[in-house]
Symmetry: C2
Subunit: 209 residues, 2 copies
DNA sequence: GAGAGATTTCAATCATTTCTGAAACGGTCG
DNA sequence: CGACCGTTTCAGAAATGATTGAAATCTCTC
């Protein structure tokens, strides 16, 4: 099995095949997230080739239109996972992917939190504020001053509703704080924490219930 | 502002409004993930009302078709975030959401890992195996036995390719291990870890670079 | 085992997202 | 300036994904 001495041409072809496989797998996963398949594929291509490519390279390799390539590149720049590069004596713009996998996913985590969790948290807080003033719960539960035909059953439902809302709120606030810790301050935070948590040190916590 | 004594009817209306807001916010976020908006809304409805609802309740409240409700409920059951319930003397099936937010998101994490990360890891391993035999890297770099017109530049590209592939592989393996730790063994793992990591104890690590 | 109610399935329809191609734009060089 | 080269924008086309509604299936009960 190991005795398949390949010609450079065969090697070249195998390499390209491997790259294509990588790109396909990555694109697949990308579409399971909010990201468009093409965008993920562009990122994968830039990462796996490792060298700066221009728009035409990408169009050709991925068989996509110029517009699509341009849009995807712009989006990736916005996400902060690729950067521009220039070649001397060449007016074209080239693009290259961040070669540090952890940095790359830190950037992605940061963006996704910003786009998905933050708005949700805002909504939840808004709703909570509203129910807090309009449907004031326990806090003034002993202060009398209530409509005389107050319904205890309804009151309880409202209290429970607020409790559930608060649980959700606290959950997302914890997640938010966690991701802040990983993403923003010290660059190595995430990697270190992950390595720590995966190390045998904490293995004792992993006992079946 | 606090002196708006509300009639039970007003309270009831406010409660429903708050629920609707919650459902909308949740559905919004759901669609940013791979989940369909409706599915997220059903989950939100079941969570925030806290009581078991039947298909018709859900259809009516969310204004969706029977088929859609059925499909969404089935999917949520598959994800393991809601469960069936029955009312005495009623042939209808009722559904209720897991009321523990952390359990709920543990289930979601587990499912998403299974559906998205595991297949990716499988693909990456497959690709790596292929390039390993066909484009053997450093390991036999000194064993002579190579095509005589071996191209050193190509060789280097292949090595770099394999390095990048390995980085990505190691990253996802760490993530996989991490999520295993959180998700599968002791139920409280995730919550505890999150609380720990968010506590001031580790705050020292959060210094700007 | 026939009927009634409840649930699931699925082809057709509808909505949303993604992609294309061509035109508009912008900067650079002669 | 004005021709050239490259990039961005955007309206419509294509692809994909979600939803419906009605028929098929299931499952109790009598």
């Amino acid at each position: 099995m190991r005795e398949t001495p390949q010609s450079p041409e065969d090697q070249k072809r195998s390499l390209v095949e491997a790259q294509d496989g990588f790109i396909a797998a990555f694109g697949q996963m990308g579409s399971a997230w909010g990201i468009s398949r093409t965008m993920a594929e562009v990122q994968a291509l830039l990462y796996i080739t490792g060298e700066p490519l221009c728009t035409d390279d990408i169009m050709e390799r991925l068989r996509i239109s110029r517009g699509n390539a341009s849009m995807s590149l712009r989006a990736l720049l916005d996400w902060g996972v690729i950067s521009r590069a220039h070649k001397r004596g060449d007016r074209k713009e080239y693009f290259q992917a961040d070669q540090d996998v952890w940095d790359m996913f830190r950037a992605i985590l940061r963006e996704r939190m910003k786009r998905e969790v933050d708005p949700l948290l805002a909504s939840l807080h808004e709703i909570r504020d509203k129910t807090n003033t309009e449907l004031a719960a326990k806090s003034d539960a002993g202060r009398g001053k209530r409509p005389r035909d107050d319904d205890p059953e309804l009151r309880q439902k409202i209290d429970e509703h607020n409790t559930r809302l608060d649980s959700m709120l606290r959950f997302f606030e914890t997640i938010e704080a966690l991701s802040q810790k990983f993403v923003s301050p010290a660059g190595r935070g995430l990697k270190i924490a992950a390595t720590l948590l995966t190390s045998p040190l904490l293995a004792g916590g992993g006992r079946e219930r």
